[in-house]
Amino acid sequence: MTSLSTADPQASASSGRRLVQRHALATRLTHWINSLCVTVLLGSGLQIFLAHPALYWGQSGADADRPAFEIGAETSADGAQKGFVRLGSATFDTTGKLGLIGNADGDFTERAFPRWATIPGWRSLTLGRRWHFFFAWLFAANLAAYYIFGLINSHLRRDLVPTRQQLHPREILADIVDHLKLKFPKGEAARHYNPLQKFAYLGVIALLAPTMVLTGLTMSPGMDAILPWLVELFGGRQSARTIHFIAATLLVLFVIVHLVMVLLAGPINGVRAMITGKLAISTEDKK
């Protein structure tokens, strides 16, 4: 398996740019399978959420209980229908965006999320579940493959675990400043992930992704019987459902930041590296 820092012998140094081997095949394959899975899981997950758009803490929770979070529609005092998002005791008017969605005829439909955000677009809990569980299996298998390859070819240890030097507060602070200035590493420095990048990737790989899988399993009555500690771990099935939703939101935030960083750092070079494995780095401004 190739690593981040293996130089490409065919790279031409004369152009001021040379191609270096950046991502191993296993990393690239699992990355794109994962992108597909996460997209489908998000859309189908929102579809499933339409059936009961409320979240609770604890073992149980239904209509008579007080949700911690809720998306819905209600008729206000002036008789108009309004969409709302309620977090604890705070209520936000989201008419047209969440809870009450405008359709093509100019009417409003009671629906937590708009059509474009759900798979399928029309309301179907059955199809939402079918999509979700098929891609959940693929997501989990792909994640397992990633871990196994990452351990075998040392990708996890070598590329993602921060070096002792990177963990120094001064180094982290410098990286934060670089990010705020939108200053991206060039030359040799571009061959390695910077500290914030490593924290973000490790956070997703070691924390968010397993949390998604485990909270998902906790919602399954069959799995709860098989692994009773799951329910204990998350403090109840409804808590697990809420954490599933929070972790999904954090994943979406990660993806947004990730895409923005790719766009800012040079989308063509970045995307090409994740497809072909080769990243172009400049040879002129060596650090």
Partner: protein
């Protein structure tokens, strides 16, 4: 002619082009998901996950794994009524009128000796009480205390023919007035769940006789699966070797309408 003149400047900038590409890709993908959702072949592929889930959970849990049982303090103050709130047939109304005194549970199909059990018969059998969590496919959960006779006890009395593979529960409620007559509620489970110690036919909820909303006089509790498997208003248990000749062939009212037959997830 202006149509063939080449534009002197780029019509759209690179940034806008990228933005439009992403939006276009997104729309195509979601549209693609909708089209795929309508394809029977693709649905078959998606449905294959159910078999994987069933085999994985049976392999890991099998006969032994038990649904968690809770304490009285955990009971939901208000156990939500879902699905049929009251069967709307005159036959059910008549049974309800005299407190289900004439009601009988029929046990037949691939059994050694068919049974007709009254509520008194079922109450006289060994009883099991369990405080469990009811998980609706929609996402909510409620905790209730169920009491009734284990299905295993009933099947011990009727005996099983060797070819029996499934227990089918025929219910009194017509959930949907379908033209083809497949609107009658029914459900089915395999023998592993049928003989699971927590699988009971409950006639009590929270120490009171089962209300009409919750399935009076008798409902199934199969605790390692979702709410729609917990058939209410059970009138007949039919032991069978196949499910494809009942209803629309998928083994239950909701499975006939696209939901998983194995609802352990």
């Amino acid at each position: 002619m202006s149509g063939i003149l080449l534009p002197k400047r780029k019509l759209i900038g690179r940034r806008k082009f990228l933005g439009l590409s992403v939006a276009g890709l997104g729309a195509t993908m979601l549209g693609g998901c909708d089209r795929l959702s309508e394809s029977p072949k693709f649905e078959e592929l998606l449905n294959s996950a159910e078999g994987l889930t069933y085999r994985a959970q049976r392999l890991l849990g099998g006969r032994k794994s038990m649904a968690r049982e809770f304490a009285a303090a955990d009971l939901s103050p208000d156990f939500k009524v879902n699905g049929t709130h009251a069967p709307d047939t005159p036959e059910y109304a008549a049974m309800q009128e005299n407190g289900f005194a004439d009601w009988r549970l029929r046990v037949d199909g691939l059994v050694v000796s068919p049974l007709d059990l009254s509520l008194a018969d079922l109450r006289a059998m060994p009883q099991r009480a369990q405080i469990t969590r009811h998980d609706c496919v929609e996402g909510w959960s409620a905790i209730g205390k169920w009491q009734g006779a284990p299905l295993a006890e009933i099947l011990k009395r009727s005996g099983l023919q060797p070819s029996a593979r499934f227990a089918v529960f025929h219910c009194a409620d017509v959930y949907e007035h379908a033209m083809d007559g497949t609107g009658q509620y029914y459900e089915s489970i395999d023998l592993i769940d049928a003989f699971h110690p927590q699988t009971i036919l409950a006639h009590r909820l929270n120490d009171e006789a089962l209300s009409v909303g919750h399935g009076a006089p008798l409902r199934l509790r199969v605790e390692r699966q979702l709410g729609y498997k917990q058939a209410k208003y059970v009138m007949r248990i039919e032991m069978t070797d196949r499910l494809d000749q009942l209803g629309r062939g998928k083994g239950g009212f909701w499975p006939d309408r696209g939901y998983e037959w194995y609802a352990g997830i």
